[in-house]
Symmetry: C2
Subunit: 360 residues, 2 copies
């Protein structure tokens, strides 16, 4: 019995050490965690942000807290990352929460909602209470999320035929997911769910008529330009898409405070790098695409107008079905409408002036 008590005693002391780490800093634990990124290595800006995150956590903890990065499919499939964090198959995942909207529409709000804010205003919303609201929701899923990087505004997608008006959407088979897909389905589109890797072949064969991925930096590598001449902007459905770092809540709660701070700061560092990457790396591929015959087109305004009407109706329906959605969406919608009032003055005014100046 004495020996067992001693062992139990050691166990308790170790557990206490984790909970009150600052008092015994020299005893910080060696940890080996795993994170799965929804972005494969070929989607380099997001994948590299995940690597940057991991490296920063190691640097901040003198190499004691190691988080190994895996690509989609290496431990769990891309679309199962959130579930795998929730059930603790993996400690962390780097993904867009809107892949889980089949379970609950509230998942859309952590990454992107059609007609939402732009990327800077998304972060302003996080700070203004949005992130706390999201984490109240994620807490019910035994997870916690930290913002992890944004594509900025995406393209609406690649189309084999020109979009002349909303009539052009009737029966159009488009690879598009999320609530954007739901909205488009109400305008006559037949949304298709396809893994990114199968998309090019489907578009080439004509099994689908259109495809949405992100923007020139990622899209060019898939080769869509060879089989679809029209490249449309803007994307009403993805004005910003934020990836999140998701952590199992019990794993998070078990971390020393110092390691929690390391995660928090490293997420922010990686997020800045990803958005700055997208913002800086899109022009060159876009220019190459245009030089090789891609035709850049603006989405006809009757499509956007009709989509807006459907989006607002959809959000009313979802709010009636889900208290979580209603609570967070209402906050998000009001913040966005409010923040754009300032945005249109100095920020949009500045961009308008710069674009005019640079065209001379």
């Amino acid at each position: 019995m004495k020996r067992r008590e001693l062992i139990t005693g050691i166990g308790t002391a170790a557990a206490a050490g984790i909970l009150s780490a600052p008092a015994i800093a020299q005893q910080q634990p060696e940890l080996n965690w795993r994170i799965v990124s929804v972005a494969p290595k070929t989607q380099a800006l997001f994948y590299n942000a995940c690597v940057t995150f991991s490296k920063m956590v190691a640097d901040l903890t003198d190499g004691k807290f190691k988080i190994q990065v895996f690509g989609p499919g290496e431990i769990v499939p891309a679309l199962a990352i959130f579930d795998a964090v929730q059930n603790q198959t993996i400690e962390m995942g780097y993904t867009a929460s809107y892949f889980s909207i089949g379970r609950e529409p509230t998942f859309a709000l952590g990454s992107s909602l059609p007609f939402g804010p732009n990327a800077r205003l998304q972060h302003a919303w996080f700070r203004a209470g949005g992130l706390d609201l999201l984490n109240e929701f994620y807490k019910k899923q035994d997870t916690i999320m930290f913002p992890g990087g944004n594509t900025g505004a995406q393209m609406f997608g690649w189309f084999r035929k020109e979009l002349k008006s909303k009539e052009s959407l009737q029966g159009l088979k488009m690879r598009v997911g999320g609530l954007g897909g739901t909205i488009l389905s109400r305008l006559g589109v037949v949304p298709q769910q396809l893994p990114t890797g199968d998309t090019y072949a489907a578009l080439e064969r004509g099994t689908i008529d259109a495809v949405e991925v992100t923007g020139p930096f990622d899209d060019e590598r898939f080769g869509f330009q060879k089989v679809a001449p029209f490249y449309y902007y803007p994307s009403f459905s993805e004005g910003n898409v934020e990836l999140g770092f998701f952590i199992s809540l019990s794993k998070w709660n078990g971390l020393p405070k110092q390691y929690q701070s390391a995660i928090r700061a490293a997420c922010s560092f990686a997020a800045d790098e990803a958005l700055a990457g997208y913002d800086g790396e899109q022009t060159e591929p876009l220019r190459r695409l245009l030089a090789n015959g891609t035709q850049l087109r603006q989405v006809p305004s009757d499509i956007t107008d009709a989509a807006r009407v459907e989006a607002l109706a959809l959000y009313d329906e979802l709010s009636a079905k889900s208290e979580d959605f209603k609570k967070i969406y209402t906050h998000y919608r009001d913040f966005t409408a409010n923040a754009y009032q300032w945005w249109q003055v100095a920020e949009y005014g500045y961009d308008s002036m710069m674009l005019k100046s640079l065209r001379r």
Copy 2:
């Protein structure tokens, strides 16, 4: 002698410990540093970003690396912060480097240059080589800089009389600094250098005719709206203003790698908070100002056009005088022109669509 050798030996071991910290992590030093913020407590978003930075560094180092925050004037005056870092009176400063353009025009490029990129593209430029170029320059000043937060696009300023055309600028006494002031002086303005605290009284008495500070969140507190009815946008000279965390280079080089990482990550964390704060906090004060009679006006385009011509001429002159300016400015200018080509498609397209949608 033996005793001296022993002491010398200990000293060397301690120094080696700092240089190769990861091997003896338990020996991380207790440090007490001081940082002076150019923003006083009343300029809450920037001041608080400095506090957030300090707190995060402490959290990341288990309380061992303490950086105490001081306001302007508490140790050194606001405009002497960079010099005080350089001569090691203080270990760190949080300031806009353009306050030092009197020494060398290159200092403008680290914070803001008229007709530069917006805040996101400024960060994209940092990532694309801009920060390395700046730090090559700062290295010559025995300092290193990390981006620390941005106001986003500022307002052009408060005016007692309406600006009808560039003729309205003739003889106008305006509190405006930096290269924006130089450009305006070539259009007939008489730039005035005044500490922020003296500005309201000067405007009230009519000693000056106009004043530029930042935007509604900061400006409302000064009360300019009581004595100048016209509030102009956009500011061609401050499309983004980045504050930097500046560190004495020898102090930086003496830090354990783990502490360097803590500073790097904490700067990024604080920077995101500051920009998200400005983006989210400007609408309410703007609305109050407008409800109380402030008249929002767009800068006449002939003023902006003439300022652009003068700005390009000025940058040519500065490039001829300073190799550093020429090298960094050329990179910055080309990056900005390039990145705005992508920006005008998806991002500006998205904002245009959202602003139209929200007006209904």
